[in-house]
């Protein structure tokens, strides 16, 4: 199996070849969406942040936008600004430029309103798409692959099949020098000490424990018992007995592969292997965290059928529930009910999924892409909205 990707100036390889339109603030989303409609090959990374957050969140949003622009699926970037936002568009531009990619900027105040901004931005985007279209996929090593993972609309089958199968991909791809990114701090809760034991450096494990504590404390600050509410009545009725069991089911997506580092939201792993990024469980912010970490695609497990993708990275939907695989067939990419039915082992299904994911990284579309079910995303902020 080989991976064929679009070569980037920083040595990475893209699974897609988008011209990204990145608003520094949600205030200019309308402009981004208009340019996306006008110019084929562009992708608008719309979100609702960029202003009126505490300084820590301004830093986090800026870091996330820069690293989204640096994602290997992005060929070049058009940054949009309003002119008064807290996230400084010039910082985003300079940050992305460090990767060697072409980055352009237009601002609504400076251009004198929406329509001239669209005209100028669309012209720049059209030039960049034409330029990007001249790139060809090249054969790249499997060590150039970076996948992230998440589970959504999970059910009993997730911890018994799809998550185990993704865990096998984690093992296979890290053995081949690839990079695997996990997050979902809410689902780590209960399993943080077991993940800490897998860390090559215990200081990294302490960070994972701190991610969970931080989530718990932020819940307490608004009077919410995050630990108590994490085990739902539905979980118990479905057969989950303890929070550790639930956490182990979610974290089976990495098996017992050693963990190299624990990274803040919006950050990028500095070496190959398995990493934990402080992403929330909520899909919109979670997938953005994986994309900012440089993943070319996401292995997204589901039980009942979560259809959403992400504008920057294709989402491969993997399901072990045979009923969902029929009723939601138009949204599921890889059926692993065989693991529950005992007709395929986790190892066999893992090899099959790994090969399929390499095909997707090399150009095969996911169902979320085909259906344009991949437009929505969000960026995590941790402080209050002012």
């Amino acid at each position: 199996m080989d991976f064929y990707g679009y070569p980037r100036p920083d040595g990475q390889y893209g699974a897609r070849n988008y011209v990204a339109i990145i608003p520094a603030t949600g205030c200019v989303n309308a402009v981004a969406l208009q340019i996306e409609k006008l110019v084929r090959g562009t992708k608008a990374f719309t979100h609702h942040q960029g202003c009126l957050h505490p300084p820590q969140d301004t830093v986090q949003v800026t870091r996330t936008l820069i690293n989204l622009g640096k994602n290997p699926n992005v060929a070049s970037v058009l940054v949009l600004g309003l002119g008064c936002e807290m996230v400084k568009p010039e910082e985003v531009v300079e940050g992305i430029k460090a990767s060697g990619k072409r980055v352009e900027y237009v601002g609504v105040h400076a251009e004198g309103g929406m329509l001239p901004t669209i005209a100028k931005g669309a012209q720049l985007a059209a030039d960049m798409v034409l330029e990007a279209s001249k790139l060809r996929r090249e054969r790249a090593g499997l060590d150039k692959l970076r996948f992230c993972t998440k589970c959504g609309s999970s059910d009993t089958t997730s911890g018994l099949s799809s998550n185990l199968v993704v865990g096998e991909v984690c093992r296979l791809m890290t053995e081949n020098g690839g990079t695997f990114i996990q997050g979902e701090v809410c689902d780590i809760m209960g399993g943080e000490y077991l993940l800490k034991e897998l860390c090559v450096d215990s200081a990294e494990g302490d960070k994972i424990v701190a991610f969970v504590k931080d989530l718990y404390d932020r819940g307490c600050a608004v009077g919410a018992d995050v630990r108590g509410s994490q085990m739902t009545e539905g979980n118990v009725a479905g057969g989950l007995t303890t929070l550790i069991e639930k956490a182990m089911g979610a974290n089976a997506k990495g098996q017992k592969v050693p963990i190299q580092s624990a990274i803040e939201y919006g950050g990028v792993p500095m070496c190959a292997g398995r990493h934990i990024v402080a992403t929330p469980g909520h899909g919109f912010e979670n997938l953005t965290g994986g994309a900012a970490a440089g993943a070319q695609l996401i292995l997204f497990t589901t039980g009942r059928g979560a259809p959403n993708g992400h504008p920057c990275i294709p989402a491969v939907k993997i399901c072990g529930n045979s009923k969902t695989n029929k009723t939601m067939a138009s949204h599921i990419d890889v059926d692993v009910a065989s693991v529950i039915e005992e007709t395929e082992t986790v190892k066999q299904a893992g090899q099959r999924l790994y090969e399929y994911a390499i095909e997707v990284a090399s150009g095969t579309l996911t169902k979320a892409e085909v259906l344009n079910f991949d437009g929505a995303m969000e960026i995590l902020i941790k402080g209050p909205v002012m």
Binding site: G239, T241, A252
Partner: protein, 93 residues
């Protein structure tokens, strides 16, 4: 049709039923080379756990090869293992 339960790690002392099981049913667990059956002592719903080893009070319940809780009662092979006989010992510190 044969009723199966999944034992995720060979170390595990429980397996998860992937069919609704009635008391007295033989529940099959497939391992790498062989299939073993256990007689269910009670009804056990899809997604719930059956003990595949004897577990004494205070011993760990093992699933995914890790301790997920502690037995609050003696558990016999074939027993349903859930909140009525397991303590969730995890706390955020």
């Amino acid at each position: 049709m044969k009723k199966y339960a999944k034992q995720i790690d060979p170390m595990d002392n429980v397996a998860t039923c992937v069919a609704d099981v009635s008391a007295g049913d033989e529940v099959f667990v497939k391992n790498t080379n062989r299939e073993v059956s256990y007689k269910a002592n009670t009804d056990i719903q899809f997604g719930h756990k059956i003990a595949v080893k004897e577990i004494k009070t205070g011993e760990f319940i093992l699933k995914y090869g890790t301790a997920i809780g502690k037995a609050t009662k003696d558990i016999k092979v074939g027993d349903w293992v859930h909140t009525h006989n397991v303590l969730d010992h995890y706390e955020v510190v």
